[in-house]
């Protein structure tokens, strides 16, 4: 129960992310589409078919050991790219202190990808949110329901073709119109001094 304080600077140095990308290419040569580097952050764009196997490899390999799923989200490229959706995994290794970003391409007509909940339990709610806001189905997810939006909501709000404002955004709230009408009716009963 006692709490100890640890000194800083004890963390092991990690592998260069470019090398990690190279290892993924080695193991899954046909799955990697592109490796990009922006501001020292390396992203590996992969096909979705083997995505779970690749992520399982990244998690289980003792030299990579990506044990922490920082973030799981999606990007809707609309018509900007050939494949509409990208599911983005931001991974981190607490042991080696290195990071990598995996992007799996998911086409619109078959918006399905394998679940990673068996690998990282924390992916549960991330995937539910992704399904809720983007409409991407995670095959094998234990409990795939909407999470932030109401259960009976129609449409997927974070898709680019979903409008920012509702159709009645500019109109007055109907309750307010009623209140104004009622106050007009009751005007004759106003208190005089």
């Amino acid at each position: 129960m006692a709490v100890t304080e640890v000194k800083a600077g004890i963390y092991a140095a990690g592998i260069d992310p470019e090398q990690i990308a190279g290892r993924i290419k080695e193991h899954f040569p046909e799955q990697v589409i592109e490796v990009t580097n922006h501001r020292d952050q390396v992203s590996v764009i992969i096909k979705k078919d083997q995505s779970v196997a690749i992520l399982r490899y990244l998690h289980d390999d003792p030299h990579l050991s990506f044990d922490h799923l920082n973030d799981l989200t999606a990007v809707d490229w609309s018509s900007k790219k050939e494949v509409r959706f990208e599911v983005v995994y931001n991974l981190m290794s607490l042991k080696y202190r290195h990071r990598i970003r995996i992007k799996a391409q998911v086409p619109e007509n078959n918006a399905k990808i394998g679940t990673v909940v068996p690998i990282w339990a924390g992916a549960d709610w991330h995937e539910r949110e992704c399904y809720d806001l983007f409409g991407i189905e995670f095959v094998g997810h234990p409990d795939l329901r909407r999470i932030l939006m109401p259960e009976d909501w129609e449409g997927y709000p974070l898709r680019k073709d979903y409008p920012l404002k509702g159709p009645d955004f500019e109109k007055d709230w109907p309750g307010f119109v009623e209140v104004v009408k009622r106050s007009q009716e009751l005007k004759e009963f106003e208190w005089d001094d």
Binding site: M1, V6, A121, W125, M149
Partner: protein, 490 residues
């Protein structure tokens, strides 16, 4: 004859389904939890979130980068300053700029003050939920002091928006430094006060020790961060792993627990308070001189004291040079006071009695016919015509002030263009890891703004922590993961 029922049928046991929230005071916001109970033991726990969903990610995509900054206050309103800093650090990384050293130190100071205020509010409500009323009042006494400090530095207490992309809004005053030093002297004795009340309290120990135990491997697997993870013995602190702001220039330690229960997480946060004091003290000692905003004309707003109407507020007059004016009507349409008159393709005239000296016309004119006459206020039109010089012969400081004003207009109307690419930047907010994932398509608005909030992940762990415990322990578990639903639902 009375017919007796079989005794098994009378004493039939079944699971009880209990709904808790969303308006329950102990759920720290609008969290709804559905409990399946066997007696008083929890068999199943299903949290429902989303009552505070405002679509911040969608909103962020419709606003330019610096317009979206106040939205981050509304995420974790308990420690708004940390959220602002996280956002600014992320956008700076995306733009490839860096804040000046003084701004970095100031951010570190206010960030740690925010951490203290968050932990105080956490301790207050957590103790109140478990049944210690006195701690609540003591913690709010000190939190009030910190909010006063925030008011001193930014004018606001709760939703602050003090940091900016590329620095902080304004420099800190000596009054703020003095008051902070006084607070730091006083505060360690106040921590002891709280600890005297609950640290060895038998009721507190019974309610927290061995409750919500999670092992280190499992905590990592569930994606926990911050003090919630460190309670299980993993020294994962982004301030050490990937230092931002001035954290690489100060010395501090990362407290970790061993058992991974509610009590250890409480101890971690109490020790973090002491580390925060240490950090702020070092920052105040090392505080360098210099500017507080980066000199990056592409991404940072021009300084307000070097902009046209402010540099010469009272004594100047605007004048249209008759020869150069083509009568295009741009200034006529732009003038908010309707002081400019004239027909199309004929020289326009300014009515000096109506002019507000806002310099809108000065920045819109494309034919270099509009000029400024310093000290020309109150003079007649003939006199002004004598004094007026073409805009390219004006003094340098007025020219610069005009350029700054034009830049300001561009910024507010369009927003700065950010290079194409994507970054994920995480910062250590009091609740854990706050991550921002930006995708930029080269325009002035983010193509995708993703907020990875620690409360959302931790709320997802609630069922893991609570199953097998009693109903009363759900309250302790909601307290120990330190969630704010504004951040959870975004």
């Amino acid at each position: 004859m009375i017919k007796m029922e079989e005794p098994e049928k009378i004493f039939e046991t079944r699971e009880l389904n209990v709904n808790m929230g969303p308006q329950h005071p102990a759920t720290h916001g609008v969290l709804r939890v559905v409990l399946d109970l066997d007696g008083e033991t929890i068999v199943r726990l299903t949290p429902y979130v989303g009552y505070l969903h405002r679509g911040l990610e969608k909103l962020g995509e419709s606003l330019s980068y610096f317009q979206a900054l106040p939205l981050t206050d509304r995420m974790d309103y308990v420690s708004a300053m940390s959220n602002n800093i996280g956002y600014c650090v992320a956008v700076e990384k995306l733009c490839g700029i860096e804040a000046p050293p003084r701004a970095k130190f100031i951010r570190t100071i206010v960030g740690e003050l925010s951490r203290i205020s968050n932990h105080l509010l956490w301790l207050a409500t957590h103790a109140l939920d478990i049944g210690a009323m006195t701690v609540f009042l003591y913690c709010f006494r000190e939190r009030e002091w910190i909010l006063d400090l925030f008011e001193m530095v930014s004018g606001a207490r709760l939703t602050i928006t003090y940091p900016r992309i590329g620095g902080v809004r304004n420099d800190i005053s000596q009054e703020f430094i003095d008051s902070t030093v006084k607070f730091l002297e006083e505060f360690p004795s106040r921590i002891l006060e709280y600890e005297t009340l609950i640290d060895q309290n038998r009721i507190w120990l019974q309610r927290t020790v061995g409750i919500g135990v999670i092992s280190a491997e499992e905590a990592i697997n569930w994606g926990m961060t911050g003090p919630t993870l460190r309670g299980s013995g993993i020294p994962y602190d982004i301030r050490k792993y990937m230092p931002y702001d001035a954290y690489d220039q100060v010395e501090f330690e990362v407290p970790i627990g061993t058992a991974g229960d509610t009590y250890d997480r409480y101890r971690c946060r109490m020790l973090e308070l002491r580390q925060s004091i240490k950090i702020i003290k070092q920052c105040l000692d090392k505080l360098p001189e210099g500017p507080v905003m980066a000199d990056e004309p592409k991404f940072v707003l021009p300084p307000k004291d070097k902009m046209l109407p402010i540099t010469h507020p009272t004594d100047m007059a605007y004048f249209i040079i008759e020869k150069a004016c083509k009568g295009c009507g741009m200034c006529l349409r732009a003038c908010p006071a309707k002081a400019i008159t004239g027909e199309k393709k004929k020289p326009h005239v300014i009515d000096q009695s109506l002019c507000l000296q806002c310099s809108t016309c000065f920045t819109t004119c494309k034919f270099k016919s509009m000029t400024v006459v310093p000290g020309g206020k109150g003079l007649s039109d003939e006199k002004l015509a004598e004094l007026a010089v073409p805009p390219e012969q004006l003094p340098e400081d007025i020219k610069e002030a005009q350029q700054n004003l034009i830049r300001q207009f561009d910024f507010i109307k369009k927003g700065p263009r950010v290079p194409e690419g994507d970054v994920y930047v995480a910062t250590e907010v009091p609740k854990g890891e706050l991550g921002f994932y930006f995708v930029s398509d080269g325009s002035s608005k983010p193509y995708r703004m993703r907020l990875r909030s620690p409360s959302f992940i931790h709320a997802g762990c609630l069922s893991r922590l609570s199953i097998g415990h009693l109903v009363a322990d759900v309250i302790a578990n909601i307290g120990t993961i330190d969630i704010v639903l504004g951040e959870c639902d975004r």
